[in-house]
Amino acid sequence: MEPSYYLVLSAMLFTIGAVGFMVRRNAIVAFMCVELMLNACNLALVTFSHAWGLLDGQVASFFVMVVAAAEVVVGLAIIVSIYRTRRSASVDDANLLKF
């Protein structure tokens, strides 16, 4: 098995996620981009774990998944609540917390 394929895939997924997060205004899409970046990281962790023959990376990816699950619960709740009060899911509209 050649790890570089997996790593390239991981890098591509991460880049898509990062760029998507910066360019898209829709909160749901931005959220999915965050998930994409997390999963790209997971893929990289598992790849290295496999390559070195160690279990550390796989354990770490479990932690990432747990954090991602918790984040989804909280994040979606926030998005829904913002949508209800402001009638908009655009991240640029939620800009009251500033200088």
Binding site: M22, V91, D92, N95, K98
Partner: protein, 636 residues
């Protein structure tokens, strides 16, 4: 110079183990009266009076015990506890009951008890009488610590204690701004003297490694001349502050703002004589320094004339007596500066002065009591009929202070004048002139207060004070009369071992040319006062005058003006300059730094623009930079 004999105190036994009670009784009184609050209002003054009486009884018992001992065993050391232990320093607190300190104990507790009794009547209508007695007890305790300490550092505890009590009592009527100011003034001027004391004690610790009397006495022979001179001058500075001697005299006249029993106890009989005690106690130091002992003589001589001058010009009865106190303490200090020949005379005069001056101050209090607290002598006159007991007792005190033959002042002051003549003719002549001036201003006081025609206002009805006030007057008057006769032949021999002097044969009928001339001068002073104030009568307002002597005297010889011009104004100026420097240089620098940082933050906070996506861009850029650095680091 032959090394001095060091007196090693014998160990305490029997009753001397209880010597600490002398101090503890009045201290306990002060604590109870201060802590018990209004609960003690009804009986506080009685408790406060009992405590010094208890100390007096114990003092008499110890005194009788000492009298029964042979000469070498009359100094008794009573170790109490270890005061300070740090590093190489070990300072023990202990008491020294010897020929010198026991006389002070008797004076302080004896005169103190009488003044406590007197105060019961004098302060009867004061709502804060309990507090007054608490402070008086505190004073007695501190003064006893001062005279009983066997170590200069412990002495200093008492020294500060009496300063505190003096401050509290001068400002006792704190609702009067003048009293509050006078108290602060006394405190501040005393600080200057205390600085000298502190430095002297530090010098002792540095030179002898100890500040105990025995160690200082033992080491004094080996110390260098310069060290001895500096130590002596510093001790003299301390003595000047406490005893209101020139140049630290200015507080005493203002201290008369306090209640009159306070003036009698603290500012006449006991506390202000602490400087004399200090000089006599530190005789081992002064023996080794010609400069410092000459300075003591000069200060004493200057002050005795200074005080007498002020006494001549004042119309306030208490201020005349205060000037007189300065003057008499000047005599004591002069005697103490002469050296071994004068120590016993200094203490002799201190004791007799304690009697007759306390008597006269209490008499002045009785007059004020009768005249609705008026102190202006020009509104007295002809009080001898209204106040017969006060007149009689005051008159005896008057005769004692001017040195009427066979009364106490005659003996004690004559000894000092004679010793001054043997020491130096100029000093002797000045001391003699001082005696004449004393006679003048005291006669003036008598004439203005008790004789002549009445000058008081219509609504004033002078009346004799109650017995609780007149009995102490009578006792003190009796002491003023017989004090000299009783002590004259005895005191020199008694004190000789404690002050390392040789006793001379003294006689009650001893009469020398010096004494004759002194008596003539005294008679001249009395006659002059009679001509000026008795025959002519006294105007009700002070006559305006151009005489520079009178004007200077009325303004305390410009003591306050001098202090203001030399110390206060330049001091204020310095503080103002320093304050401005602090504001502009130090404060300005810090505010500028703050302003710059605040300006930068104004710019920096614009980064917080509220757009999540721009934050994300910042993070990505940051991560990118970290990555670049890492990669470059790996390549390098």
């Amino acid at each position: 110079m032959t090394p001095l004999e060091v007196v090693t105190p014998t160990a305490a036994s029997g009753l001397f183990g209880l010597a600490w009670l002398l101090i503890a009784l009045p201290l306990a009184g002060a604590l109870v009266l201060l802590l018990a609050g209004r609960f003690a209002d009804a009986w506080g003054h009685l408790l406060g009076t009992l405590m010094p009486i208890g100390s007096f009884v114990l003092g008499v018992v110890l005194f009788v015990d000492l009298l029964g001992r042979e000469e070498g065993a009359r100094a008794v050391g009573v170790p109490l506890y270890r005061f300070i232990e740090t590093g190489g320093w070990r300072i023990d607190a202990g008491l020294l009951v010897d020929q010198l300190s026991i006389l002070f104990v008797l004076l302080i507790t004896g005169v103190g008890s009488l003044i406590h009794v007197y105060s019961i009547g004098y302060m009867a209508y004061d709502p804060r009488r309990r507090r007054f007695f608490a402070y008086l007890n505190l004073f007695v305790a501190a003064m006893l610590i001062l005279v009983l300490a066997d170590n200069y550092l412990v002495l200093f505890v008492g020294w500060e204690g009496v300063g505190l009590a003096s401050y509290l009592l001068i400002g006792f009527w704190q609702h009067k701004p003048t009293a509050a100011t006078a108290a602060k003034k006394a405190f501040v001027v005393n600080r200057v003297g205390d600085m000298g004391m502190v430095l002297a004690i530090m010098l002792m610790l540095a030179t002898f490694g100890s500040s105990a009397f025995v160690d200082v006495d033992a080491g004094a022979g080996e110390m260098g001349g310069t060290v001895a001179t500096v130590m002596g001058l510093l001790l003299l500075l301390g003595a000047c502050g406490k005893s209101a001697q020139v140049p630290l005299q200015s507080w005493l006249l203002d201290a008369m703002e306090g209640p009159t029993p306070v003036s009698a106890l603290i500012h006449a009989a006991t506390m202000v004589t602490a400087g004399v005690y200090l000089v006599v106690r530190a005789n081992a130091v002064f023996t080794h320094t010609e400069v410092a002992s000459t300075a003591v003589v000069v200060v004493g001589t200057v002050t005795l004339l200074f005080g007498a001058w002020i006494g001549c010009a004042k119309d306030d009865i208490k201020k005349v007596l205060a000037g007189s106190t300065m003057s008499q303490i000047g005599y004591m200090l002069l005697a103490a500066g002469i050296g071994p020949a004068g120590y016993a005379f200094a203490i002799f005069h201190l004791l007799t002065h304690g009697f007759f001056k306390a008597n006269m101050f209490l008499g002045a209090g009785s007059v004020m009591h009768a005249m609705d607290d008026d102190v202006e002598m020009r509104r007295y006159g002809a009080l001898r009929r209204a106040l017969p007991i006060t007149f009689a007792t005051f008159g005896l005190g008057y005769l004692a202070i001017i040195g009427f033959p066979f009364l106490s002042g005659y003996y004690s002051k004559d000894h000092i004048i004679e010793a001054a003549f043997e020491h130096n003719v100029v000093v002797g002549v000045l001391a003699m002139v001082g005696a004449g001036v004393t006679a003048f201003y005291m006669t003036r006081l008598m004439l203005m207060t008790f004789l002549g025609r009445r000058r008081w206002a219509e609504g004033v009805h002078p009346h004799e004070a109650p017995a609780v006030m007149t009995v102490p007057l009578v006792v003190l008057a009796a002491a003023s009369v017989v004090g000299g006769l009783v002590l004259n032949n005895w005191i020199e021999g008694w004190l000789a071992p404690a002050v390392r002097a040789e006793a001379h044969e003294a006689s009650l009928l001893h009469f020398t040319p010096v004494a004759a001339v002194t008596l003539l001068l005294v008679a001249g002073g009395v006659a002059l006062a009679w001509v000026l104030f008795g025959r002519r009568g006294v105007p009700q307002t002070a006559p305006s005058t151009r005489s520079p002597f009178v004007l200077a005297g009325r303004r305390d010889l410009y003591g306050d003006a001098f202090n203001e011009a030399v110390f206060m104004r330049p001091g204020q100026q310095l503080v103002r300059v320093l304050g401005r420097a602090d504001e502009t240089l130090v404060g300005g620098g810090w505010s500028a730094t703050g302003d710059v940082l605040a300006g930068l933050s104004q710019v920096g906070r614009r980064l917080q623009n509220g757009f999540v996506r721009s934050y994300a861009l910042t993070m990505v850029a940051g991560v990118g930079m970290v990555a670049v650095v890492l990669v470059l680091g790996r390549l390098a």
